[in-house]
C-alpha cells in the first residue's frame, strides 16, 4: 500500500462537494455532500479528515484530478484553486475533467444528460453514453436552453442532476486532460462574463 499510486479527486462545481481518495485502484474514502454555499467552509476540513483517516498528507499524493466545471462559478473556483495549489506546492501532476462527466458517472443509464441548473431556463449540460462501464462524450459541455438541448438529445437520454460519481468508471474512461503548466489551470466557465458581453456589443 505504501508505494501504491495515490490519487485525489476534487469537484465543487455542483451543489455537492465531492472528494475521493484512491490508492492503487481502490477508493479508500470519499465525500459526497450537499451544501450549496458551503464548499468553501467544508472542503478543507473534509479533505483533512479524509487524509488523516488514511494516514496520509497532501504531500504524499501522486496525482490530482479536478472537476473544472462547467457549473457554479463561485463553486468551481474553490476546487480549482485548491487543486492548483496542491499541484504547485508539491509538483504533483494535475488532470482536469468535466464536472458533468463526473456527474454522469453516477448513473447506470446508457444515454445521459448530466445537468447543472444555470437559471432562466438554461443549464450546463452534455450528452454522455456508456458502454461496458466506459463513458463516451457524444455532445460536449454546453450552456443553453435546457428544453431545447433535452429535445435535441432524444427521448432515451436520462437527466442526471445529482449522484455520487463512480470513480472506477471514470478512471477507465478516456476523459482527462493533463495540465501542462500548473499556473495556467483555470475553470471551464463556458462563457465570458456579462460585463464583457456588454462591452463587446456596445
Amino acid at each position: 500500500m505504501k508505494n501504491a499510486f495515490k490519487r485525489l479527486v476534487i469537484d465543487t462545481a455542483t451543489p455537492y462537494l465531492y472528494l475521493s481518495l484512491i490508492i492503487g485502484d481502490i477508493e479508500v474514502g470519499s465525500v459526497y455532500q450537499e451544501g450549496d454555499h458551503n464548499h468553501s467552509v467544508t472542503i478543507i476540513p473534509m479533505l483533512s479528515a479524509l487524509l488523516e483517516e488514511n494516514d496520509l498528507q497532501l504531500k504524499d499524493l501522486d496525482q490530482i484530478i479536478v472537476g473544472i466545471g462547467p457549473g457554479s462559478y463561485t463553486g468551481v473556483r474553490i476546487g480549482v484553486s485548491i487543486a492548483k495549489m496542491i499541484g504547485y506546492l508539491n509538483q504533483v501532476e494535475v488532470y482536469t475533467i468535466s464536472s458533468l462527466i463526473l456527474l454522469a458517472s453516477s448513473s447506470n443509464h446508457q444515454r445521459m444528460i448530466p445537468y447543472v441548473d444555470a437559471r432562466r431556463g438554461n443549464a450546463f449540460m452534455s450528452l454522455i453514453e456508456q458502454r461496458e462501464n466506459t463513458l463516451f462524450v457524444v455532445e460536449d459541455d454546453v450552456l443553453m436552453n435546457a428544453t431545447e438541448f433535452i429535445r435535441k438529445s432524444g427521448d432515451d437520454a436520462i437527466l442526471i442532476k445529482s449522484g455520487k460519481p463512480k470513480i472506477e468508471k471514470i478512471l477507465s474512461s478516456n476523459v482527462f486532460k493533463r495540465v501542462e503548466n500548473i499556473h495556467d489551470l483555470v475553470p471551464n466557465y463556458l462563457q465570458i462574463t456579462e460585463a464583457e458581453r456588454h462591452l463587446r456589443s456596445s
Binding site: S40, S48, L58, Y73, R77, I78, I86, L89, N90, H183
Partner: protein, 337 residues
C-alpha cells in the same frame, strides 16, 4: 527573540497579493498582481472578472512571493489571510489557497480583517505606539479609530453615508476622468484653485462622524448646471475645491479627536492615505503629535499589511483559526479581538 515569519494573502478586491513579513515589520517580499488595467474598461471593479483573475494568477503570485523572499514554505510560522470585508468570490480564492498551504505544511492560519491590514501597514516604517488615533480612509471606509494597545479597535466615529474614496470616484466619473478616479482628482487638484468653496459637511457637528454624500451631490449638481448653461469650467478647479472640502473635514475631525483623547501618534490608513493633498494638510495642521502615513506602495491593497496585522493578532489572541475559516463580504472590525 525568536523570529516570526508570516505569509500574508490578500484577494479581497482586485489585487492578488502574497507577501512574506518577518516580525511584523520587515517585508521580505510583497508581490501584487493588479487588475486595474482589466477593470478600467468597465469604469470599476467587475466582481466576476475579479474572481476569475484571482484564480488565474494565484499560484504564480505565491511562487513569486516565495522566490523573492528567499525563504521556503517550511520556514513559515503563520499564514495570515484576508477573510473580509470584500468581494466574496474574490475572498474565497485567497482563503482556500491559504487553507491549502496550511494543510499542506501544517502551518497555523489566521483570518485578518482587511481594514486592520490598512492600519497595520503603518507599522512597516514607523513602529506603532499606543494609544494612537487611526484615520481610516478608503473606497469603503471612513472611520476614526482609537487604539489603546495592539489589536484593540475603538471606533470613535464613521461616515453616515458614502466613504470618502467612494465620493472621490463619483466626482472623477462626473468629470470624465479615467478609473480609478481618486488619484486623478488628487493629481488635478495640484494645479487647480478652490474657487467653488463647497460645503464642509458635519465639520461643526461636535462628534467624530462624517458625511460625504451631500458634498458629492453638491459637486455633481454644480457640474450639471454649468454644463446646462454651457459655461466653461476647469476640471482642476472642481478637483481642488472638492479636495479642499474633503481634507478640511478629515483634518478637523482628527483634531477634534486629538482634543478628546490623549494619544502618542496619528496614523492614516487606507487607499486615500496615498492622497497628496490629505498628506500635506494633515502634516501641516497637526503638529502636537507625529502623523504617519504608510509608504505609497502599502496604501493600496497588498498582502504585506495583512501579514503585519496577522502577526499582531496572533500574538494578542495566542491561537490560530481552524480550517472552517471562511471569507465574509461583511465583517466587524472587532471580530476575534
Amino acid at each position: 527573540m525568536i523570529d516570526l515569519i508570516v505569509l500574508g494573502v490578500e484577494t479581497s478586491c482586485d489585487e492578488t497579493s502574497v507577501s512574506v513579513v518577518k516580525n511584523g515589520k520587515e517585508v521580505l517580499s510583497n508581490v501584487v498582481l493588479s487588475q486595474i488595467d482589466i477593470h478600467k474598461a468597465y469604469g470599476g471593479v467587475v466582481p466576476e472578472i475579479a474572481s476569475r483573475e484571482h484564480v488565474k494568477g494565484i499560484t504564480y503570485v505565491f511562487d513569486q512571493a516565495i522566490q523573492k523572499s528567499g525563504i521556503q514554505y517550511e520556514d513559515i510560522d503563520l499564514i495570515a489571510v484576508t477573510e473580509g470585508p470584500g468581494l466574496i468570490g474574490s475572498l474565497l480564492i485567497g482563503v482556500n489557497a491559504a487553507k491549502t498551504i496550511s494543510l499542506n505544511y501544517n502551518i497555523p492560519i489566521i483570518g485578518v480583517h482587511h481594514i486592520t491590514g490598512h492600519i497595520y501597514a503603518n507599522n512597516i516604517e514607523h513602529e506603532m505606539q499606543f494609544p494612537l488615533l487611526a484615520l481610516v480612509v478608503s473606497g469603503g471606509h471612513t472611520e476614526l479609530i482609537l487604539m489603546k494597545e495592539h489589536y484593540h479597535f475603538q471606533k470613535l466615529g464613521e461616515t453616515q453615508d458614502d466613504a470618502v474614496g467612494e465620493a472621490y470616484d463619483k466626482v472623477a466619473r462626473v468629470l470624465g476622468l479615467p478609473y480609478p478616479g481618486g488619484p486623478q482628482v488628487d493629481k488635478l487638484s495640484a494645479i487647480g484653485h478652490d474657487i467653488y468653496h463647497f460645503p464642509r459637511p458635519m465639520i461643526d457637528s461636535g462628534d467624530f462622524n462624517f458625511s460625504f454624500s451631500g458634498l458629492k451631490s453638491h459637486v455633481i449638481n454644480l457640474h450639471h448646471n454649468l454644463e446646462q448653461r454651457k459655461e466653461t469650467y476647469k476640471a482642476e478647479d472642481f478637483c481642488r475645491s472638492f479636495q479642499e472640502a474633503v481634507t478640511d473635514v478629515l483634518v478637523a475631525k482628527t483634531k477634534n479627536a486629538l482634543k478628546a483623547y490623549d494619544v502618542k501618534q496619528v496614523i492614516v490608513a487606507g487607499g486615500v492615505a496615498a492622497n497628496r493633498g490629505l498628506r500635506a494638510k494633515m502634516l501641516s495642521e497637526i503638529t502636537s503629535v507625529p502623523v504617519y502615513f504608510p509608504h505609497i506602495q502599502y496604501c493600496t491593497d497588498n498582502a504585506a499589511m495583512i501579514a503585519v496585522s496577522g502577526t499582531f493578532k496572533y500574538q494578542k489572541q495566542k491561537h490560530a483559526d481552524d480550517y472552517y475559516l471562511n471569507g465574509s463580504s461583511r465583517l466587524d472590525l472587532n471580530r476575534g479581538e
